[in-house]
């Protein structure tokens, strides 16, 4: 009896904690960690640039401080490396990580399915097909943003098609959305493979794109993807509370004052755009959108007001770390980052799972 009362008291305390506002402290701490990880990543690379030199190169770009920094002992090539190669790459990795994790968490909540990831409604297969068409028709020669734009278009067209297949009148049942996504993905993958077989010379380029990578990415990619990702992630986070309520099901949510259909459509659209923006500049990097939200959920719980921002930040940190690893591990050769995300993330997630299981028994 006494034990039950104690448990109830615990529960009451937890519930009251949940009604409170989002964990500003945790978000601030993670943001600082993200910035720290990014700055560290910028100092790492095969070219021989000291920590001190890297710092000065970065600081020299600041509006006011910059004038007082001397760069006499720093070669132009080193400045180029830090400012034009490493900095945009690290920023892009952070943005893509944030995008994928945030959208992954959103879709897992929206579709009430733990296997959901940002690609599940057709984003990745659409983007892959768009990129393949761009590479195979030689459009990719038109400029380095040709493939990203085609991938973006492909992702959106694919998602729109999936949405329309699953739609019943003005409602979108969640289970048909998932199935339609799977079916259309299979179909688009088949077309893509067919195109690859017909154009075996370009196959290597396509496969490289599919593996996902941040190599040879520049400020153009950052400028193309950043606005969409930032708007998307920030606005999605505003709906964290609504996502909590929608977990109870459409009818219950409706009775609790949420316009379930409108919210669903809005979140799907935002999620699709954000994921499409991420995939178009980095290729289909798997695992981040699926596992990071789960890992974060195991640590901070399922309340989306915690889960969403912390997943996003954790995704960014994870992506920057794995990308840094991918570009330094083998010396002069780079490993596609998607391989590293799976290799690092899988065991880490198993560890978290085991820890939670132990705490429960």
């Amino acid at each position: 009896m006494e034990l039950c009362k104690m448990d109830l008291a615990e529960e009451a305390k937890n519930v009251s904690k949940q009604i409170n506002s989002p964990p500003v402290g945790k978000i601030a701490a993670l943001t600082i960690l993200l910035i720290f990880v990014c700055l560290t990543a910028i100092t790492i690379g095969p070219a021989d640039i000291t920590l001190n030199q890297t710092w000065r190169i970065l600081l020299s770009q600041m509006p006011v401080l910059g004038e007082s920094i001397t760069l006499d002992d720093v070669k132009i090539s080193q400045q180029t490396i830090v400012l034009q190669i490493r900095l945009p790459r690290v920023l892009l990795a952070a943005l893509v990580g944030i995008a994928l994790a945030a959208v992954g968490a959103t879709f897992q909540g929206l579709l009430k399915n733990p296997m959901a990831d940002p690609y599940i409604i057709g984003v990745s297969s659409g983007a892959a097909l768009g990129a393949t068409i761009a590479i195979v028709t030689g459009l990719s020669a038109a400029g380095y943003l040709a493939v990203p734009w085609m991938a973006f278009a492909g992702a959106l067209i694919s998602t729109y098609t999936v949405y329309n297949i699953a739609r019943v009148g003005s409602r979108v049942p969640v289970y048909t959305l998932l199935l339609a996504g799977v079916a259309l993905s299979a179909f688009m993958s088949a077309i893509m493979s067919f195109l690859m077989v017909l154009n075996s010379k370009e196959m290597q380029q396509v496969v490289f794109w599919l593996l996902g990578s941040f190599s040879a990415r520049n400020w153009g990619h950052v400028q193309a993807a950043a606005p969409l990702i930032i708007i998307g992630v920030v606005v999605i986070n505003c709906f964290a509370r609504d996502l909590n309520i929608m977990l109870f099901g459409d009818h219950t949510a409706q009775h609790l004052g949420i316009d379930a259909e409108k919210t669903k459509k809005l979140l799907l659209t935002l999620g699709a755009f954000t994921a499409a923006a991420a995939v178009s500049v980095s290729g289909t990097i798997g695992f981040v959108g699926l596992i990071v939200p789960h890992g974060v959920r195991l640590v901070v719980g399922p309340d989306h007001r915690n889960l969403m921002p912390i997943s996003a930040l954790a995704g960014g940190i994870f992506m920057v770390i794995t990308d840094t690893f991918a570009r330094t591990f083998l010396g002069s050769m780079e490993i596609p980052v998607g391989i590293i995300t799976a290799m690092l993330g899988g065991p880490f997630f198993i560890y978290l799972l085991k820890r939670k299981q132990r705490n429960e028994f």
Partner: protein
């Protein structure tokens, strides 16, 4: 609703920060500089004879070594393995995905790339202020032109001229010998699973034709067609050539192959595929090897 305003504020700040980033290398045309056109039709300005070269394609690495320019090479790819001295040069990553940071750090005067998978690299490197020159070829003639161009860019036109006339002489000798001979049907196996050959527009195709053979896959629709075994058996080539990864005995003992004329007459050969795919100076060796295989009675 308050959240939306916060969101908009964050967004505006980020966009302003990003707008300030990014720059382009500035270009000034000097008086001494010459303009060269690479195989993609790009007009590349070379201000002065390049002293620091990076070659991101094995074919050009071979050309540079052959022209005696190896001292000026400061970077090659992991795949540049000929001549042996190339293995000692600093590595700049692999062929499909070179390490841009290392390339920029080495401060080259010129970087050579191939077409195809490296084309996206060109824009990226130029943005970083690097001079990029694309050299690639699908015919022996183009290879000779490329070598000539390289010689002119590097300021060694005489060495290039010597090399190209030797190469041309060897090519002409082969072509002359096989001129009015009967053309055996040749099948070149690019890959075994799936069975792939080289069609029109490829190096291998042109070498077979020059060496006095008839490419079995010469009428294909694509450049590297995947063939079904049926076509192979239906057309029954006189000569079967494969990559020297495989052993002749392994090929001849493949199931069903004992019915092929080429196997029955023992005319199954293997060749080092670098000799017939790399658009460099060794392509002449590839041609001579092909000619020996296809017309053994004419070439000893």
């Amino acid at each position: 609703m308050k959240n939306i305003y916060q969101a908009a504020l964050i967004l505006m700040v980020c966009v302003m920060l990003l707008a300030g980033c990014g720059s382009k290398a500035d270009t000034t045309v000097g008086e001494d500089s010459k303009i060269f056109k690479d195989v993609l039709g790009r007009e590349v300005e070379i201000k002065e004879t390049p002293k620091k070269i990076i070659s991101l394609t094995p074919a050009v690495t071979e050309i540079l070594f052959e022209l005696g320019l190896d001292e000026r090479i400061i970077g090659v790819t992991e795949y540049c393995n000929y001549p042996e001295a190339a293995l000692k040069k600093p590595k700049m990553g692999d062929f499909a995905n070179p390490n841009i940071e290392l390339v920029v750090d080495a401060e080259p005067h010129i970087v050579f790339v191939a077409a195809g998978v490296q084309m996206e690299l060109i824009e990226r490197l130029e943005q970083l202020g690097i001079t990029v020159f694309c050299l690639d070829a699908e015919s022996v003639d183009q290879v000779i032109k490329n070598i000539q161009m390289t010689g002119e860019i590097m300021g060694v036109p005489e060495a290039a001229q010597k090399l190209t006339s030797e190469m041309q002489a060897k090519v002409d000798a082969v072509v002359l010998k096989v001129k009015d001979q009967e053309r055996p049907v040749v099948f070149f196996e690019v890959w075994d699973e799936p069975l792939m050959s080289a069609g029109p527009g490829t190096f291998i195709n042109s070498l077979i034709e020059l060496a006095g053979g008839q490419n079995l896959a010469g009428d294909a629709d694509t450049r590297y067609p995947q063939l079904s075994m049926e076509i192979l058996f239906e057309r029954d080539p006189d000569v079967y050539i494969a990559n020297d990864f495989h052993k002749q005995s392994d090929i001849m003992s493949r199931p069903g192959y004992e019915n092929l004329t080429a196997v029955k007459t023992g005319r199954v050969y293997t060749i080092n595929d670098d000799l017939v795919t790399l658009p460099g100076p060794r392509v002449v060796l590839g041609l001579e090897e092909m000619a020996r295989i296809i017309h053994p009675e004419l070439f000893q």
